[in-house]
Each structure stands twice: as C-alpha cells, then as structure tokens.
C-alpha cells in the first residue's frame, strides 16, 4: 500500500470505528477510495496540513445535517439546538483532529522512525471545491452514514 492510500485507508477505518463506538452513529463498514482531479466538498469541511516526513493535506467534509447529529452524539448529556448549531463546525474539526491523531502512529512512515507534524484544523463553510495541482495527487474516500456521505480526502 502506498503512503497516500495508507493514510486515507487508516483514516477511513478509524472514522468508521469512531462513529460506531464513540458517536453511536450508523455508518457503513465499507468505503471506496478513488484517484480524482477535483473534490466538491459539502457544507462543513475541515483541512489539516501534514509536514515533516509526509506532506499533504487531509480533509473531512459533511453536510450540515450530519454535523448536527455528530454534535448531539459527541456531547455528554443534553444539548440545545442553539448549542448544536454553534458547535457543529468546530466538532467536525475536532473529529478529524482526533481521528487523524489516533492513526498517525500506525503509519509506515512513523513506524520506520519518521516524523509527521500536523497543523491545527482549518474549517470552511458552504460547498467549496479543490482542484488537483499539476503533478499533484488527490484521493477521495466516501463513507455512507445515516443516509448521508462523509468525504475524507488527501491531496498533495
């Protein structure tokens, strides 16, 4: 497995287990990863940059509806609708931060003594698109959850 697909594969697997075990949100166990030239993100998208012995940008994108469900299931106890809406985008960022942080040590580059630094998450709202750079690489992973799609991406 090359490093590009490895990070997205492990991130997808961790995302699935995180949704199942920590958020208790229905999610498919299957996912697909494809090589793409352009990514059309959903309502809330978070990007985290990698540098060190592995470079690139990892992303997670969900719809507003799914982001609200994620907040409801993340917060311990009751939460108001206003709080859900206020914290939805920050929760997507925190979700990617947690899941990416969780899988870093499992990557080949780390296991062989390398080092990866991750940035703080950068969150975008509304649908935006990112196009692959010339000579760049761009991969997209789709996972179905609660009749919605979670997009995970990796591009360099």
């Amino acid at each position: 497995m090359n490093n590009d697909c490895e990070i997205l594969t492990k991130l997808a697997q961790r995302t699935i287990s995180y949704f199942h075990e920590d958020l208790a949100i229905e999610i498919d166990n299957d996912f697909s990863i494809s090589d793409v030239d352009k990514i059309e993100y959903f309502d809330i998208s978070t990007l985290i940059s990698l540098n060190g012995d592995m470079a690139g940008t990892v992303g997670m994108s969900v719809t507003n509806k799914l982001s609200h469900t994620m907040v409801e299931n993340f917060i311990y106890g009751d939460i108001s609708q206003a709080e859900i809406e206020e914290m939805a985008s920050e929760n997507v960022a925190e979700t990617l931060n947690i899941t990416l942080g969780n899988i870093l040590k499992e990557l080949s580059v780390i296991k062989t003594g390398g080092n990866i630094n991750i940035s703080t998450p950068y969150t975008m709202h509304n649908s935006v698109s990112v196009t692959k750079k010339k000579n760049g690489k761009m991969f997209l992973c789709k996972i179905k959850s609660n009749d919605e799609i979670i997009l995970l991406s990796y591009f360099v």
Binding site: V71, F74, Y76, E86, E94, N97, L100, G101, L104, T120
Partner: protein, 123 residues
C-alpha cells in the same frame, strides 16, 4: 469533590468536559480558551485541578498547553494538571509530564476514564 479549571481552545471540548465533570459532582471554577488565559485563571481561582489541552494556538509567550503547565507549576509546584491529548501526541505528553503535569487522558473522552484519572491525581 474538586474545583476544576478547564483549558481547551475548542469550545465543544470544553462543553463536553464540563458536562462530564458536573455529572461527576465537581465544580467548574473557570474555563479558558488558550494557555495564557488558563494561567491567568489559575492565579485567580486557585483550582484543585486543571484539565489542559496539549495543542492550542499560541497566545503571547505561551505557545501551547506544555508552556502553560510550566508556568502553572512555577506558580504552584503542587498544582494538579491532567493533559487532554490525542493518541498521536506521545512526545508532547512526555514533555508535559516532565514539565509537571500529573497525568493525561486520551480523546475521545469517556466519563468513566475521566473519573478514574481524576481519582488517581487527587488521591
């Protein structure tokens, strides 16, 4: 039950920790969104315990949660601080413990694990 200061740049993490701590019967003395605010609130409220996110944006001379731990330990060498961290941050956890943090807890947080770590630290 303890008076606890919650330091995390993510409001949703602060909200989640606060709800768990209150469920466990603790009192929230304050909350801060960066390390410098955390230090200021520590001086002001003198909490029994601090929960401190490791990775936070820099504010003034305080670049992250580890710097904040160093400053709090200068104020009170017996301060009890629990670091809140992700799996991939082992190196930072070691630095935080060396700086004087008492223990750590991994995200995503579980209330039973939080209760267990607090009990160990306040023992």
């Amino acid at each position: 039950m303890a008076k606890i200061l919650v330091v995390d740049d993510a409001k949703i993490m602060r909200a989640n920790i606060k709800k768990m701590l209150m469920e466990l019967g603790h009192t929230i003395t304050g909350e801060a969104g960066n390390g410098q605010e955390g230090i200021d609130q520590f001086k002001l409220f003198k909490p029994d315990l601090v929960t401190m996110d490791i990775t936070m944006p820099p504010e003034g001379l305080i670049s992250d949660g580890i710097d904040a731990v160093k400053e709090i330990i200068k104020i009170n060498p017996d301060a009890k601080i629990i670091m809140v961290t992700s799996h991939g941050e082992q190196d930072k956890v070691i630095k935080a413990i060396q700086a004087g943090a008492s223990n750590y807890i991994l995200k995503p947080l579980k209330i039973d694990k939080l209760e267990e770590v607090i009990a160990k630290v306040l023992k």
